[in-house]
C-alpha cells in the first residue's frame, strides 16, 4: 500500500469497508473461485451472487451473449439458497478479511425478510445488499421500478436486521433518483447503482433472440456512461453513501464514479476478462481521488 492508497469507507451501521473497491454481485460468485486466482483479501468488499430463499437452478442456456463493448446475461439467479449459504458457505469465509456482503433477491417481501433473518446470526456476513432489480426472473423487478414498493420492502427488511442494508438500484426506470430517495427514507443505509440494463441480441443467422427469454442484462464497459449518469442523479438525490457500479474496467473508469459523488465502487464484468481488474483499480486509485 502506498501513502496515497485509498482509505476505508464507512457505509453506516458498523460496516466499514477497508477500501472502496469491491467485487460486484453476480461476477464473483461467493468468492471461492476468485480466492484461488487473486489476493481477494486486499479488496474492499465481496458482494455475493444473488441469493434467494430456495435454491434456484437458473435459466436454460445460452445464458450469455457478447455485444459491442459488453455482454448480455440471463443466468436466472442460479444459487444454492440462503440456508446453504448460511450453513455451508459462511464457515468457509472464516478468516477472510474481505467484508462479505450477501446479495439477496426474491419474489416477495416475505422471501427477502426470510433470507435476511436467516443471515442475521451468521457472523461471517458483514452486510446485506438487496437486489430489487434482477431483470432475468419473472418476479423481483417490480420492487425496483416502483418507489413505494421499494420502500415497503426496505422497511420490512429494516425491521429484522441490525446490519448495514445496501439497496441495489435498477437503471431500468424513468426516475432512479425517486427510487433512491424512497429507499433512503425507508431506512436503507446505502445504495448501489446500477444493476444491468435490459438488452436484447438477435442471432443474425436465424433472426431470433440469442437468449432464450428474449432479453437479458447488459453489462460491461458499454454501459459505463449510462451508469455514471444514473449514479450522479442518485448522488444528487440522497444523503446516504452511494456505491457506483457499471462498466468499470480500470482505475480511470472507477474514478469517474467517485468524481460524481460515489464513495465506493464495484467491479463487475471486467473481472471475467481479467480477474485482477479490481486489484488493478485499487492500486490505481489514490486517496485524493475522492
Amino acid at each position: 500500500m502506498t501513502e496515497n492508497a485509498p482509505g476505508s469507507v464507512d457505509l453506516g451501521r458498523g460496516l466499514t469497508l477497508p477500501n472502496p473497491v469491491g467485487l460486484a454481485s453476480g461476477t464473483a460468485g461467493y468468492g471461492f473461485e476468485l480466492e484461488q486466482l487473486i489476493d481477494i483479501n486486499r479488496l474492499g468488499a465481496l458482494y455475493t451472487k444473488g441469493t434467494t430463499m430456495d435454491a434456484r437452478a437458473g435459466n436454460p442456456p445460452p445464458r450469455v451473449a457478447e455485444t459491442g463493448g459488453g455482454m448480455l446475461n440471463s443466468i436466472g439467479l442460479q444459487n444454492p439458497g440462503v440456508d446453504s449459504v448460511a450453513t455451508t458457505y459462511a464457515p468457509r469465509w472464516t478468516g477472510w478479511s474481505i467484508p462479505i456482503i450477501v446479495n439477496i433477491a426474491g419474489g416477495s417481501v416475505d422471501e427477502y425478510v426470510h433470507c435476511v433473518s436467516v443471515l442475521e446470526p451468521v457472523s461471517e456476513v458483514a452486510g446485506i445488499e438487496l437486489n430489487i432489480s434482477c431483470p432475468n426472473i419473472a418476479q423481483g423487478l417490480d420492487f425496483g421500478r416502483d418507489p413505494a414498493e421499494a420502500a415497503r420492502l426496505v422497511a420490512a427488511v429494516r425491521a429484522v436486521t441490525q446490519r448495514c442494508v445496501i439497496v441495489k438500484l435498477s437503471p431500468n426506470v424513468t426516475d432512479i433518483a425517486a427510487v433512491a430517495r424512497a429507499v433512503e427514507d425507508a431506512g436503507a443505509d446505502a445504495v448501489s447503482a446500477v444493476n444491468t440494463y435490459i438488452g436484447r441480441k438477435i442471432h443474425r443467422a436465424t433472426g431470433r433472440s440469442v437468449l432464450p427469454l428474449g432479453t437479458g442484462g447488459l453489462s460491461g464497459p458499454a454501459i459505463q456512461p449510462l451508469a455514471l449518469a444514473a449514479v450522479a442523479a442518485v448522488c444528487a438525490a440522497v444523503h446516504i453513501p452511494v456505491i457506483g457500479v457499471g462498466g468499470i474496467i480500470d482505475a480511470a473508469s472507477a474514478r469517474d464514479f467517485l468524481i460524481v459523488g460515489a464513495c465506493a465502487v464495484q467491479v463487475g464484468t471486467a473481472t471475467f476478462v481479467n480477474p485482477e481488474t479490481a486489484l488493478q483499480v485499487l492500486d490505481g486509485l489514490r486517496v485524493d481521488d475522492y
Binding site: L34, G58, R63, E66, M71, I75, Q78, H203, V210, P275
Partner: protein, 282 residues
C-alpha cells in the same frame, strides 16, 4: 468435481507462429511457460483477442499440445475474436488465463480410441502424449471432418511416432465417406477400454448414440470434452450451463468451465443437450 483453479494464472506470452493448415484450420503457437508446465490433457486456456473492449470476452481453447515452454492451439477464424487471433504475428503478445477446467482421466493401460470431429482434434495431441508417457501404445484416432482439407493432419496427433489415424469426411474427399461415428462402429469390435471424444456437441451425442446402439458394454473410461458459450471460464459468471444427469438421473445444470469441459459421457443429458438452441459463437 469442480476444477482446481490453483494452477490457473494470467500469463502474457509471445506468439511464435500462426500456421495455416488448410481448409481454414489454424495452429497458433506461443511461448507460454506457465501454461506449458501446468496444462493437463483436456484443460483449456482463455485467450484475449486483441486489446480493445470489443470483443470483450476471452475465448476458450483447448491446449492442443505443449513442447518445452511453448503451447499450441487449433482454431478456425469464424468470428471477431478468432479473426484477431488469426492475424497475430510472430512476436506479438498473447494474453492468456489458464490452465482451466477438468481434463481427461488419463488411463495407464488398455486399448484407447479417440474420436475427433472437426476442431475436436484440439485436445488430442496432448492427451496422446500423456497416454504414451504412461505406457499406453494401443491408441486409435478416428478423425472426422466435413472435407479433406479440414482434417487435422494425422502426423500432428503425436510426434515423433504417429498413432494410427483413421479418417472420415462427410463429402468422401478422404478416408471413409460418412460420419466419423461409422468408423467408431467398426472400432468397437476391438473392445476399447477407454474412449475419449471431442467435437461439436451434436457429434458427441451421435458418438453416445452409436455406443448405446451397438449393444456392447460401455468402456470403463468414456469421456467427452464439451463446449458452451462461456463468459469467464473460471466458474463465477455461471454462463456456460450444460444439462447433466445428477442424483436420481434428474437433469441439473453444470458448468462447462469448472465442472467440465471434460465430462463422463454417461453423465451428460444428451437429449437435453440436443434440445438447446444453437450457440451464437464469435
Amino acid at each position: 468435481m469442480t476444477a482446481d483453479l490453483s494452477r490457473a494464472a494470467l500469463e502474457t506470452g509471445e506468439v511464435l507462429v500462426v500456421e495455416r493448415l488448410g481448409g481454414g484450420l489454424l495452429e497458433l503457437v506461443a511461448r507460454l511457460p506457465h501454461l506449458a508446465a501446468n496444462a493437463m490433457p483436456g484443460t483449456f486456456a482463455q485467450l484475449r483477442c486483441g486489446t480493445s473492449t470489443t470483443p470483450l470476452l476471452r475465448r476458450p481453447f483447448s491446449v492442443a499440445w505443449t513442447h518445452d515452454d511453448t503451447c499450441g492451439f487449433v482454431f478456425e477464424a469464424v468470428g471477431a475474436g478468432t479473426r484477431l487471433l488469426a492475424a497475430l504475428q510472430p512476436g506479438d503478445p498473447l494474453d492468456t488465463l489458464g490452465p482451466l477446467g477438468n481434463g481427461f482421466s488419463v488411463v495407464d493401460s488398455g486399448s484407447v480410441v479417440c474420436v475427433s470431429g472437426g476442431l475436436g482434434c484440439a485436445p488430442f495431441p496432448l492427451l496422446i502424449n500423456a497416454l504414451r508417457r504412461r505406457g499406453v501404445e494401443d491408441i486409435l484416432v478416428l478423425n472426422g471432418a466435413r472435407t479433406a482439407t479440414r482434417l487435422y493432419p494425422a502426423e500432428r496427433f503425436a510426434r515423433p511416432a504417429v498413432p494410427v489415424v483413421a479418417e472420415a469426411t462427410d463429402d468422401g474427399t478422404r478416408g471413409h465417406h460418412g460420419p466419423v461415428t461409422e468408423l467408431l462402429q467398426q472400432a468397437l469390435s476391438s473392445r476399447p477400454t477407454a474412449i475419449y471424444a471431442c467435437g461439436p456437441n451434436a457429434m458427441l451425442g451421435a458418438v453416445m448414440g452409436t455406443l448405446l446402439e451397438s449393444g456392447a458394454d460401455l468402456p470403463p473410461t468414456l469421456e467427452a470434452s464439451l463446449e458452451a458459450p462461456m463468459g469467464c471460464g473460471f466458474g463465477t459468471c455461471l454462463g456456460c450451463a450444460l444439462p447433466v444427469l445428477g442424483e436420481d438421473r434428474v437433469t441439473v445444470w453444470k458448468l462447462c468451465c469448472t465442472d467440465g469441459p471434460v465430462m463422463p459421457m454417461r453423465d451428460v443429458d444428451w437429449d437435453g443437450l440436443r434440445a438447446l438452441p444453437g450457440a451464437d459463437v464469435a
